[in-house]
Symmetry: C2
Subunit: 329 residues, 2 copies
C-alpha cells in the first residue's frame, strides 16, 4: 500500500485541516490529560508537559488519525468498509473507527505478531485476516481483501486525513499549554510528527518541533541527511511502534517543517521508559519513551524552557518489559 | 509506638475534622484525578470511579495524613521535629510533611527494607535511622530517637490527625462523584478506611464502605469477627502496604462504621494489579489493587451501581512484579 511517489500536485495538509479533524473526531476520541511531575522538571531543568495519549481510546494516539480518516469518507466509500495491514496500534484504531461509523473493517495481521494485537482488533469488532510474515505478504493479503470486498485502504501514516487526525494531539496540547518552546514526539512512519509540525508552525511564536527516533530504526534521520527517503533493511529496536519507514508525504513534511531529527539508543529508551513508570506512575510503551530518552540523554537541551512531550501509547507486553532479565539481549 | 488501650474519653474524629484537614493540606498535596475506563465498567457491570492516589505526592495517599498531622502541631511541638518508624510510604510522607513545614524528621527503617524506601525518605530531606529487622528493634530505635531529639512521634494510622487527613481522599472523591453507592478501599492498619468511613457516613444517603484486605494479612476481618483486635504472627502477602495490624482507634471505627471487611488471595491481587496496568494504563502497587480484586472475584456485588475505589499508591519495585517468573513463589 506504499506509493512510489507523491501524487502530482500534492499539497501538505494545513492547520485548518487539523482543526477540521479536531471538530470531526471530538466526540469520538478522548481529550487526554496533560500531566506534570516536579521531580522530572528538576531532573530535566525545565517545565515538562506530558500529553498522555496512552490514555487515548485503544491506548494510543492512532485512534485520532483512523477516526478522522474513516469519518472523512463519503457515505458511498464508507459502505464498502475499510481495510489496512498492521502489526501494531493502527489496526485496532481502524477497527474502532469503523465500528463507530457502523461499517466493516478488515485488518491484515502477520502470523508472527503478538496475540494481543489480534485480540485488540477483534475486541473493536474488526475482522482479522492472517498472513505470512513480511511486508510483501502483508501487502498481498491486503490487496486480496480489497479485491474481495472493495474496502477503502487506510494507510497508517502516508495519508493526509491520518496526518491531520494525528495533529489533533498537539492542537489540544497547545490549547492547554500556550507558549511551549518545543514539542518532542516520536517518529516511525511520520504521521504524528507531520501533524504535530503542521499545527506547531501555525502558532506565533512557533514552538520547535523535534522528531525523536530510535537509533536502530533511524531511517528518518538518514533520509533527512541524505535529502531523499532511505529505507533500512532490518530496523532493530525495542520501540516496536517505530520500525516503519518514513512515508512519502511524511518525508516531505518532516524535511520542510521539523527542526531536527534526534536519535537515541535502545538502552536509553528502556531507561527512559522506566523513569516514566517510576516517576509519572503511568504505563507507556517503549515508543512513547523515545522523546523522554532524548531529554534524559541531553540530546536536546531544555535550557529552562517549557517542553511538550507526546506520550504516544501504553500498549505493552507486561511479560516482556525491557528491563526484565528475560528481555535482556 | 502502639498503645495498649484507647485513651480514656477518646472520641472518633468527626467529618468536620476531615473537612478541617482538607483545608489545612489543600495547597500541600495534590488533588488527584478520578479516572474511569469503559472496559472495566463493562467487566464489573457498573460505573467504577478510580481515585488515583498513586499520583499523589510521594506516590501514595500517606502524604495526606502525615501532612495533616505535621501541620496540626503547635509551633512549640513542631520545633522539636517529628519521628516515625516505617518500612513503607509513611516514612517518606512524614519527611515530606516535615520539609514543607521547615522542621526536622527522623525515620527509623529496618536494615532489610528495600533500598528504595531509604532513598525516598532521604529525597524528601528526612534523616534515615537504620535499625535491626523486627517490630521490637523498630520501636527501640524510635524510642532512642525520641529520647535524643525530643521529636514528636507521628503514628502511621493509630492517630486522629492521620485518620482525618486520610479521609480527605474520599472527601474529594465524593465531591467529584456525588451519589456513589459504595466506596472500596484497602485496609492495613486502618488509617485510610477509618477516614473514608467517617466522611462517607456524613453523606446522605451514605455510600456503603467496604474494607478490602489480603487473605494473608486478614487481621481486620478476624478482629471484626472476634469482636476484639486479633494480631497475626506472620502476615504473608504481596500487598506490602497492608501487613500492619489494625490500630486501636482504627478497630473502633471499623467496627462501628465499616459495612464489611472482604478478603482476597494474593493471586487475585496480582491479577487485579495487572488488570489495572493493562486497562487503566497506570502504575499501582499491589496494595492498591486489593479493592479491584474484590470486584474481579465477585466478593462484592456491583449490581449496576456507582462504585468508588481508592487506588492507594504506585510505589512498586519494577524488578519484582508479581506476574514475573522471578517473583513466582
Amino acid at each position: 500500500m506504499t506509493d512510489k511517489e507523491l501524487p502530482a500536485g500534492w499539497e501538505c495538509p494545513t492547520a485548518s485541516a487539523v482543526r477540521a479533524a479536531a471538530r470531526r473526531i471530538q466526540d469520538r476520541v478522548h481529550r487526554t490529560p496533560v500531566l506534570r511531575c516536579a521531580a522530572l522538571d528538576d531532573l530535566f531543568g525545565g517545565r515538562i508537559f506530558f500529553k498522555c495519549e496512552n490514555f487515548q481510546r485503544i491506548g494510543a494516539f492512532k485512534a485520532r488519525g483512523a477516526m478522522n480518516a474513516v469519518w472523512s469518507l463519503s457515505d458511498e466509500e464508507a459502505r464498502r468498509g475499510v481495510a489496512t495491514h498492521s502489526s501494531g496500534n493502527h489496526g485496532a484504531a481502524v477497527a474502532l473507527a469503523a465500528r463507530s461509523r457502523g461499517i466493516s473493517s478488515w485488518v491484515v495481521i502477520p502470523e508472527d505478531a503478538p496475540q494481543v494485537k489480534r485480540i485488540s482488533v477483534a475486541r473493536e469488532g474488526g475482522t482479522v485476516v492472517p498472513c505470512s510474515p513480511g511486508l510483501a505478504a502483508r501487502e498481498a493479503g491486503l490487496a486480496e481483501v480489497v479485491a474481495d470486498t472493495g474496502a477503502v485502504v487506510i494507510h497508517p501514516y502516508d495519508d493526509d486525513r491520518v496526518i491531520a487526525g494525528q495533529g489533533t494531539a498537539a492542537l489540544e496540547l497547545l490549547a492547554d499549554v500556550p507558549g511551549l518552546d518545543a514539542i518532542l514526539a516520536p517518529i516511525g512512519g511520520g504521521g504524528l510528527i507531520s501533524g504535530t509540525a503542521i499545527i506547531a508552525r501555525d502558532q506565533n511564536p512557533a514552538p520547535e518541533v523535534i522528531a525523536c527516533e530510535p537509533a536502530g530504526a533511524d531511517d528518518a534521520a538518514r533520509s533527512v541527511a541524505a535529502g531523499e527517503r532511505v529505507e533500512l533493511e532490518r530496523p532493530d529496536t525495542i520501540a516496536d511502534g517505530l520500525r516503519a519507514t518514513i512515508g512519502l508525504r511524511n518525508f516531505a513534511i518532516v524535511s520542510s517543517l521539523v527542526d531536527e531529527v534526534v536519535t537515541v539508543t535502545d538502552s536509553a529508551i528502556a531507561e527512559a521508559m522506566r523513569l516514566v513508570w517510576e516517576r509519572l506512575r503511568i504505563v507507556v510503551e517503549p515508543s512513547a519513551a523515545v522523546p523522554v530518552a532524548v531529554l534524559q540523554q541531553g540530546a536536546y537541551k531544555v535550557r529552562g524552557g517549557a517542553i511538550g512531550i507526546i506520550l504516544t501509547g501504553g500498549n505493552v507486553d507486561l511479560d516482556r518489559l525491557p528491563w526484565s532479565e528475560s528481555a535482556t539481549r
